[in-house]
């Protein structure tokens, strides 16, 4: 599959141009049909007039280019827009304004439980998750032994996943998400929930394909993890880019502002 798409070693993998994302707030009555009809009836311009709706600007004018080999950490306080930015990169939220271009297969790891059927066995869940990521059964069967090996779950893979602990689920998810050398790997902070031996194996695995031609974006509050895993940092503040650059500089500036 990757043969047809020769990785562009020095190329841009992720390109965001003037991206803004805003969420209309639909709570309580504003989400109901009645309100909307009444609005229309009274000559209100719903949908066109921003002043009639409460809009949360989650991301504002984000310009960002990531080259292959970049490992970016998204840092910032709660509600700074880290998860929203990850979801924009994953193509989940299409930008309200601006452009997004992603080169390569995207492998999102936002929720360990995505597509997990509690009653299915570990193997069946690996197959299901592979289907979600667009991996064909033949490709998967080739890689299955390797995935099974990486999870380290052995005979547990034949049991329903409802018997798994959170850490075991994490191993399973991570193994599938990374088994096909994702070109753009997007991770929310839960990755740091694994035990020490898993974390070190996960880092090792990521470094093997990052070197080939990939990009990783990690959103985390844990600055130590960010420093270990990433070479670049992006500090988000209220949906805007406050600082972008080498990880040490960004963390330094962020810590200075937090303690100040």
């Amino acid at each position: 599959m990757t043969d047809t798409r020769e990785p562009d070693r020095a190329g841009t993998a992720v390109h965001l141009e003037n991206v803004s994302v805003s969420f209309p707030l639909y709570h309580g009555g504003s989400r109901s049909l009645k309100k909307s009809l009444l609005y229309r009836g009274s000559g209100g311009r719903i949908g066109t007039d921003a002043s009639h709706r409460i809009v949360v600007e989650a991301l504002r004018e984000i310009n960002l280019s990531l080259q292959t080999g970049d490992r970016l950490a998204l840092i910032g306080s709660n509600g700074a827009g880290k998860t929203t930015l990850l979801r924009v990169m994953a193509g989940i939220y299409e930008p309200t304004v601006g452009k997004v271009g992603i080169h390569g297969r995207i492998s999102p790891m936002f929720d360990i439980n995505l597509g997990i059927d509690q009653e299915l066995t570990g193997y069946d869940n690996i197959r299901l998750r592979a289907l979600i990521l667009g991996i064909t059964p033949t490709q998967l069967e080739e890689k299955l032994p390797e995935i099974a090996e990486f999870t380290g779950l052995h005979e547990y893979l034949d049991m329903p996943v409802r018997t798994y602990s959170a850490g075991m689920m994490l191993r399973l998810t991570f193994a599938v998400a990374t088994c096909f050398e994702p070109e753009v790997l997007l991770m929310d902070e839960w990755i740091v929930a694994g035990d020490a031996s898993f974390i070190s194996r996960a880092r090792q695995r990521i470094s093997t394909f990052i070197d080939k031609a990939s990009v990783m974006v990690l959103a985390s509050h844990d600055l130590a993890t960010c420093q270990q895993w990433c070479n670049k940092g992006l500090w988000l503040d209220q949906g805007r880019i406050k600082q972008f650059g080498p990880i040490d500089e960004v963390i330094h500036a962020y810590q200075a502002s937090v303690t100040a």
């Binding site: 390109h15 989940i92 997004v100 059927d117």
Partner: protein, 286 residues
């Protein structure tokens, strides 16, 4: 403030695998691309559709045949009472009731459950970019599986009353396909507006109950005598008839086909226009 790292000049030369932009003018193409890419992911939605059924009936002894059993009892009980009430021969009324009820169960479950199409898949939609049509295909597929379980009753009725619908029965296949196409389009449309306006599913639930009683399912249109137009103006009567007629060995009227084709065109225009316009908003709504 540090600037973003400079983008190499040749980057624009290679088409990105995923290109999105705000207020994209190619909305219709994107909608069709979604529908096509969703279809190509058949392995996924077939699997998910099966899992939906298995999940609901796991560890129950009869599984999806519980539905079959309850429908069978309903056909038997209603068939007996209503054939006496309307004074119709039971071997004529029960096949009519059975076919009608099976089709109605399919239609009503599609319409009432389609409100949760996107809101119920929030965990998927918020975690991974999939064509939205995948959720529609998955939903319709699981409805087909349930229908296939229920259709056993129809064959049992044919055997019991020693009826053969003849070759006309084959017409049920294109009729069923048309019914499913309309089901898919309605699901897409209702799924979207229900994600935006959360009271839509409630409205639909009460509407569907009324439709059941005013549509000839438990009663034959003939009992209306010179008020048959009451059945003829009901679009659901025609949607049911293009499948029920052939199942009972009769050829549906041209009027029925014309009405269903009209509904299909209308449905298609409405659903696709809506999908093109609001596809990118679905993930924001849920």
């Amino acid at each position: 403030m540090t600037m973003t790292s400079p983008a190499p000049a040749h980057a624009a030369a290679k088409m990105p695998d995923l290109a999105l932009r705000g207020r994209d003018p190619h909305k219709l193409q994107l909608a069709f691309a979604d529908i096509g890419r969703g279809w190509a992911m058949w392995r996924l939605w077939i699997q998910l559709g099966w899992n939906d059924i298995l999940q609901r009936y796991r560890r129950s002894m009869l599984g999806p045949f519980w539905l079959t059993a309850s429908t069978a009892i309903m056909v038997g009980a209603l068939g007996f009472v209503y054939s006496k009430l309307f004074n119709i021969a039971i071997d004529e009324f029960i096949p009519f009731l059975c076919a009608g009820l099976l089709i109605w169960n399919l239609i009503s479950s599609i319409i009432t459950e389609s409100g949760a199409l996107f809101t119920g898949s929030e965990s998927y939609i918020k975690q991974v970019r999939l064509p939205y049509s995948v959720y529609v295909y998955r939903f319709i597929w699981s409805k087909i599986i349930i229908f296939a379980h229920n259709v056993v009753i129809y064959f049992a009725v044919l055997l019991y009353f020693q009826i053969s619908p003849g070759w006309n029965a084959l017409l049920a296949i294109p009729g069923f396909a048309l019914l499913l196409l309309n089901g898919a389009l309605t699901t897409l449309f209702v799924g979207m507006i229900s994600a935006r306006f959360r009271d839509i599913p409630q409205i639909i639930a009460s509407f569907i109950q009324i439709v059941f009683f005013v549509t000839p399912i438990m009663w034959k249109p003939e009992v209306l005598r010179n008020h048959v137009y009451i059945a003829a103006v009901n679009p659901f009567q025609h949607l049911i008839e293009i499948v029920r007629g052939p199942m009972l060995g009769t050829v549906p009227s041209e009027l029925s086909y014309a009405v269903v084709l009209g509904i299909t065109v209308l449905n298609m225009v409405l659903a696709i226009a809506f999908f093109a316009r609001f596809r990118a908003r679905i993930s924001y709504w849920i």
